[in-house]
Amino acid sequence: MTRQPKAVALVSGGLDSLLAVKVVQDQGVHVEGINFFTGFCVEGHTHAIRKKEKAKPKRNNALWVAEQLGIKLHILDIIEEYKEVVFNPKHGYGANLNPCLDCKVFMVRKAHEWITRNGFDFIVTGEVVGQRPMSQRRDTMPVVSRESGADDLLLRPLSARNLPETIPEREGWVDRERLYGFSGRSRKPQMELAHHFGFEDYAQPAGGCCFLTDANYSSKLADLWQFRGSKSYEIDDIMLLKVGRHLRPRPNFKVIIAREEGEGRFLQGYRKQYVNLETLSHPGPLALIDGEASEEDIQLAARLVARYSKGRGDDRVELQVSGLDGVSHRLAVVPLSAAEVPESWYL
């Protein structure tokens, strides 16, 4: 090849993809990044919602990584297509509702389609053999290459020397000798390499790149599926699972209660889509009702919301209930006592 080879890299915003891109960039490859938005990603917006995290910089790590590397970043909205991966993962779920192996296959397949469409030569990921229990094992990494259709157009620069030679190596687009042979769960080699390249302040997500690896989030999603009677979700559902306190007093409805001002502001945006409750007589949180609630259910929800207001110690809290038709009415209730809110209501 006389022209400069071109690669597209899966950029999550974490350290591994940052390093993987840097390694091939240093070998003269033109790299652009792709970042997938599934709706479950752990990115800036949760920080934006919660006021107490205001002190943290609200940067998007994938954009930050792209800027450090001086590469273009294409952010792809895959919310709809990704549902099938979450509902029916061929290779099953990990410790929670995270379908990591299917997810990787899906993303690499999308990247393969992208390079075909855009005239790029190969795909780069930051995967490391043995790093993650499901998608980055010696026996599952070939599954990603094969099932995605990318085969040996998929290069993992951080682990390449532990893996069979790929087309970019065979064709001399990159020099295998200058790739790495990292393996195992240790993060030390990556941190050393980051130091070598002079990268500081990179993001180090604890569990994984998305909320599906979070036990608490997964149990709320499982609850949603159970009470809707099928595996389904819309973007608003999965966003709302990230926000507020979720309680299910009855099978037919749950109540989402803002925990602080930032969440309250966020929930305000959903007032036209959900029956919602707001305390009038005392300062208190905004709450949404998700599900079909009868008058009696709304009464119970109101007592629950009153419990989370400043009026919890009083005999009477007045609330405003607004329906989907935009019509509001007032309701006065006795706040529930702590003993009247069983542990099992909390999702």
Binding site: F37, H47, A48, I49, R59, L63, H74, I75, G269
Partner: protein
């Protein structure tokens, strides 16, 4: 100069960035795009996206609950 308006209110990052990216892909260089967002993260993310992809941020401002970014589409194409 033509200014295109984009309503990205109520969307959480990175959706406002994605909407900007997809809209910019169809615009001629030199066109201005004004994005109205309610996620304050947009004031960081949209300018970062612009820097990476060669577009110019003309102005960022807040008005009531809105965070607004005015950008000018750069010469070297989309995002």
């Amino acid at each position: 100069m033509k200014t295109v308006i984009l309503d990205a209110r109520r969307l959480l990052c990175p959706m406002p960035v994605i909407r900007v990216q997809d809209r910019v892909a169809d615009l001629e260089p030199g066109t201005r795009l004004e994005a109205f967002c309610t996620d304050p993260g947009a004031l960081i993310d949209i300018p970062a996206w612009c820097r990476i992809n060669g577009h110019r941020v003309v102005e960022t401002r807040t008005e009531g609950d809105d965070y607004i970014v005015l950008l000018e589409v750069g010469r070297n194409g989309n995002g």
